[in-house]
């Protein structure tokens, strides 16, 4: 980097957020630019097209107040790079990485390109240890595994942000060095403040990086925020050996920003007017996680999205589902908090991260049993709606009791309550013990002997220890 920079001053045309600069030479595609309009201030841009001596620059902050001529544009010589290193920990920044917490700009002696590089698939290691969130419904039934990418599917009006912030505040890797990078995209000021409050302790402990792109921040900036978050996270994970959880909320705002920017660029829309490259764009974000053979850290990714009208075939959840390794689904049908629908949720890599030596030996079986019982309870519930609860068989009614116990003892949890794995399993066994032992066909005898605790007198729901249908 030379001390003396060349500025271009012939901004020939301004069109929406695009500025066309003439007379340039040696300016590459996707290069990052710094713009100083005559009206003052500093803006930033990306080269959208380089055509002979013209550069079409997309201005992140928009071109309002700019006039052709009088603006000075400096090209930085490469696509956007950000400083990486521990300096980000404990900082609260805007969507472009600019400080919001009163501190100086984050700097470091190392920089990395925000677009990142693809990880060689032959160097990946399968995810194999859990990331515990302290939320029972997740830790038990859709366990997160280090290096996994798992989405949080929600709908408008549900507390997904609260849950995401709770996970970010509570998640840990059993004592190993753990950091969280939270990238907020398109949040309202109120939501952002709530997230910030929930994460204050983690930030003070030097374990959090918070990037806030708010709803009234420039839309194009929203496209950079997750990339900056991932670049910072990759360094923390793979160069500094930490286990990192990256939460991106919310991806629906991100995709809408992408759609808006694509329209402005005059690109041909595909399904539901989203750009045709939406899948690949999301993949370039979501694939930036995992474990690497020979390197100690890991990067686990939790993108959060709201399904417009609860429609899972909408491009945002659909394409996300094709890429992530499972999803935690929130549903308005589920009472209480967190409203996780365990039957619709799935962690595809769970098998590799739980069990003996990691969580508990009976983990997979217990989870399977709970899900099977919940499925049966759901059927019983539907039947009850048709014919009335009193017309149900004793067995079915017991399943309804089980479902109630599940909600009350396991699923329901306060937003500031963190439960240890032991606590979660204790509650799980408590709930499963509402059912008669012989119904629990998915659990082995050893596990049942160790954990099954039918409620005696004064317990919940059981009229007698072995009340069965003849």
């Amino acid at each position: 980097m030379s001390l003396i920079e060349l500025e271009y001053t012939d901004v020939a045309e301004l069109r929406g957020p695009l500025a066309v600069v003439r007379g340039v030479s040696g300016v590459g595609w996707d290069e990052f630019a710094v713009i100083r309009p005559a009206s003052g201030g500093v803006r930033h841009g990306l080269v959208l097209e380089a055509d002979r001596d013209l550069a079409v620059v997309q201005v992140l902050e928009g071109t309002a107040g700019m006039a052709p001529g009088g603006s000075r544009v400096t090209f930085t010589g490469s696509p956007l790079r950000v400083p990486v290193g521990p300096g980000w920990l404990g900082r609260v920044c805007g969507g472009r990485g600019q400080p919001l917490d009163g501190g100086p700009a984050v700097s470091g002696t190392l920089t990395a390109p925000v677009n990142g590089l693809a990880l060689n698939p032959t160097r990946r290691m399968p995810p194999a240890e859990p990331v515990l969130t302290g939320v029972s419904a997740i830790d038990l039934l859709t366990t997160l595994v280090r290096g996994q990418k798992i989405a949080l599917f929600s709908s408008a009006g549900l507390p997904h942000l609260e849950l995401a912030a709770q996970i970010a505040a509570q998640a840990h890797a059993a004592g190993e060095p753990f950091s969280v990078v939270f990238a907020a995209m398109g949040l309202t000021h109120a939501d952002a403040a709530a997230v910030r409050d929930t994460l204050e302790t983690r930030s003070a402990a030097g374990e959090l990086v918070l990037l806030l792109n708010l709803a009234d921040d420039p839309v194009i900036e929203r496209l950079l925020t997750p990339r900056i978050a991932l670049t910072v996270a990759e360094h923390l994970a793979f160069s500094m050996g930490r286990h990192v959880l990256v939460v991106m909320a919310d991806m629906t705002s991100y995709c809408e920003a992408l759609r808006e920017v694509s329209a402005v660029r005059g690109e041909i829309p595909a399904r539901r007017a989203y750009p045709g490259y939406l899948y690949s764009d999301l993949a370039c974000l979501y694939e930036r996680c995992g474990r690497v053979r020979g390197l100690p850290g890991s990067l686990t990714l939790l993108p959060v999205l709201t399904m417009p009208a609860g429609d899972v075939t909408h491009p945002v959840p659909d394409l996300t589902g094709y890429i992530t390794e499972g999803q935690i689904v929130l549903s308005p049908e589920i009472p209480g908090y967190p409203p996780i629908d365990p039957l619709a949720s799935l962690s595809r890599l769970m098998r590799g991260g739980v069990g003996a030596g990691r969580t508990r030996p009976e983990h997979m079986d217990l989870a399977a049993q709970l899900l099977a019982a919940l499925a049966r309870a759901r059927q019983a519930g539907e039947l009850a709606e048709l014919v009335g609860a009193s017309a149900l068989s004793l067995a079915d009614r017991r399943y309804l009791d089980f479902a109630a116990a599940f909600t009350r003892e396991l699923a329901d949890q306060r937003g500031d309550e963190t439960r240890s794995l032991e606590e979660t399993f204790r509650r799980a066994w408590c709930v499963v013990s509402v059912l008669p032992r012989r119904e629990l066909t998915m659990l082995g005898r050893e596990a049942l002997d160790a954990g099954y605790r039918p409620a005696g007198a004064g317990g919940e729901g059981q009229p007698s220890a072995d009340g069965e249908e003849p």
Binding site: S25, G26, V27, G28, W29, D30, E31, L48, E49, A50, D51, R52, D53, G77, S78, P79, P113, N115, L117, A118, L119, N120, P121, T122, R123, R124, M125, P126, P127, G147, F238, E267, I268, P269, A270, R271, G276, Y277, Y279, S280, A283, C284, E287, R288, G290, V292, G294, L295, T313, H314, P315, D318, L319, G321, Y322, I323, E325, L346, L349
Partner: protein, 541 residues
């Protein structure tokens, strides 16, 4: 002097390309690409790497050859990117600017021909040791053998023979967008045995055939394809991870390295070529990956082998074509796809076939293409076009997957145009009842489905006895025959003989039940019987 004049993502325009040809490879300021349009000396190039930082004015070098696959003994057991550059040996992070070093090893060559012999084109002149599970043959053009090396270790690029005036090397190049030539297509139909019952009995694929596998996310598509990669009775498998997850590629590679090939006793990886161009690797290299993969398959076909190409997923390839076409300003057709999508798909699937090779052997290329319809919508362009060009379709249904019925192949929504012909093959090979069993299973499943729809409206209890037994039969077939667990040590693979036996057993059970109702046994009693022996038979070793 050829220079870059315009850069817009993967689209690079170049001046000074007088004399260049269509699809010629170029190096544009360090970025490899392919010429896809020419107007005078002005070329449009499709770049294979991220073009960030590439500026107009940079020099462009013509490579003089089209995009070609480097074919040779290094393929089997190897893992490559979409341009067939080796991935093991490349760094942890795939940096476009990092040089990919060629392996400098030698290979043990043993000659099969003698100087003075006149051979037909495509005849093997030697074998190479240690090049995978099947003997690696070095094929030569036609002519007289003027020289041939003695047995020994030679570098890959060194000539090992001279035939008809041409130097023959162990490693050679072929342009991927052109099919390797063969003598003629064979009419006889031979099945590709996959060991998956729903496929082998109901929806079989022939060697040299084509299959499309559409399915939304969560339908178990990748698991099914990986099962086929592991168990199918081909000599060579080319597994293309086209625009899909990195972790899945790592899984496939790890699984293949661990599993034993029952036919050779070696590792399954030794008969597999893995081409991994994951969803976050450059999009245009993804576009090239399907062509590279099929060229590799044709290469092994020419040695007289049965090769299977598994492409997961062709939708990502179509997306890459759409992306490039739209940057080039082409007028879009349906859903933004280029107007040539259908013909590109057709040309791809046409490269499958069971043939007599130039050298007179019999070989085949079977293509199995996954399709990822957005939102699970089977009326989208890639799914609808592909259906017209394939012989077999395995449609994966979310409802089946949701009910944990795996493989989630919908028997009603799928088809196999080769079903009858292949049933005849089974009959000729000692399984006389195959055709009849197949027909009966299909018709029972169909009838059970229709009755289930009816039962939802009127309730099971109102159906007559025989119909209720059919419903029961449907369940027995689904749970005892169609469902097959990829994780089961016993049932992950099911031989044709065992498939037939299991099907017959379920059919016999159903027949028993039908006989019982005719004798007046109350159908409720029959429904309450313990069918677990029949249902568990598939797990019994």
């Amino acid at each position: 002097m050829a220079v870059v004049t315009r850069v817009n993502g993967p689209l690079v325009e170049v001046d000074g390309m007088a004399g260049a040809s269509m699809f010629e490879l170029v190096d544009a300021g360090g970025v490899p690409g392919e010429i896809v349009a020419l107007k005078g000396a002005h070329a449009t190039v499709q770049a294979y790497e991220y073009t960030g930082g590439l500026a107009p004015g940079r020099p462009v070098e013509r490579m003089g050859v089209p995009l070609s696959a480097r074919l040779g003994p290094h393929l089997l057991g190897g893992i490559f990117d979409g341009l067939l550059r080796p991935l093991d040996g490349a760094g942890v992070w795939l940096d476009p600017r990092a040089a990919r070093t060629r392996e400098g090893r030698t290979w043990r060559f043993t000659p099969l021909a003698e100087p003075g012999q006149t051979i037909a084109p495509g005849t093997p002149v030697g074998t190479v040791e240690g090049a995978g599970a099947v003997p690696y043959l070095v094929l030569a053009p036609g002519g007289t053998v003027s020289s041939i090396r003695p047995p020994g270790a030679y570098p890959a690029d060194a000539p090992v023979a001279t035939v008809g005036g041409h130097r023959v090397t162990m490693v050679w190049h072929w342009p991927v967008r052109r099919a390797l030539p063969h003598r003629e297509r064979l009419g006889e139909q031979v099945p590709l045995i996959t060991g998956q019952r729903v496929v082998d009995l109901l929806l079989p694929v022939r060697k040299g055939g084509t299959v499309a596998v559409p399915g939304g996310f969560g339908t178990g598509k990748t698991v099914l394809l990986q099962q086929i990669a592991k168990w199918c009775d081909a000599d060579v498998v080319v597994y293309i991870g086209c625009g899909e997850r990195g972790n899945e590629m790592a899984d496939v590679v790890a699984a293949l390295a661990e599993l034993t090939d029952p036919r050779t006793g070696g590792r399954l990886s030794e008969r597999t070529v893995v081409i991994a161009n994951t969803s976050n690797m450059p999009m245009m290299a993804r576009e090239a990956s399907v062509y590279t993969g099929i060229t590799v398959a044709e290469h092994f076909r020419d040695m007289g082998y049965d090769a299977v190409v598994i492409a997961d997923s062709t939708s990502r390839w179509a997306e890459a074509r759409r992306e490039f076409a739209s940057r080039g300003g082409a007028l879009p057709a349906e859903e933004g796809y280029p107007a040539d999508l259908a013909s590109a798909l057709a040309a791809f699937y046409e490269r499958a076939g069971r043939v007599t090779t130039l050298g007179g052997r019999t070989g085949s290329v079977t293509i199995i293409g996954a399709v990822s319809p957005p939102g699970g919508d089977l009326t989208e362009p890639v799914t609808t076009h592909t259906q017209r060009f394939v012989r077999t379709l395995w449609s994966l249904e979310r409802d089946l997957a949701y009910a944990r019925h795996y493989p989630a192949v919908s028997w009603a929504g799928s088809f196999s145009r080769d079903g009858d012909a292949l049933a005849r093959w089974h009959a000729r090979h000692g399984r006389d009842g195959w055709s009849a069993t197949r027909a009966r299973v299909a018709s029972l499943l169909g009838e059970a489905d229709r009755l289930a729809a009816l039962a939802e409206l009127v309730g099971t209890g109102t159906l007559p006895a025989r119909e209720r037994v059919i419903l029961l039969g449907g369940r027995l077939l689904r749970e005892g025959f169609l469902q097959q667990s990829s994780l089961s040590p016993v049932d992950a693979y099911c031989s044709p003989g065992r498939t037939a036996a299991l099907a017959v057993r379920v059919l016999e059970t159903i027949d028993e039940c039908l006989a019982l109702t005719e004798r007046g046994v109350p159908v409720g009693e029959i429904e309450e019987r313990d069918f677990s022996p029949v249902l568990r038979a598939k797990e019994a070793p």
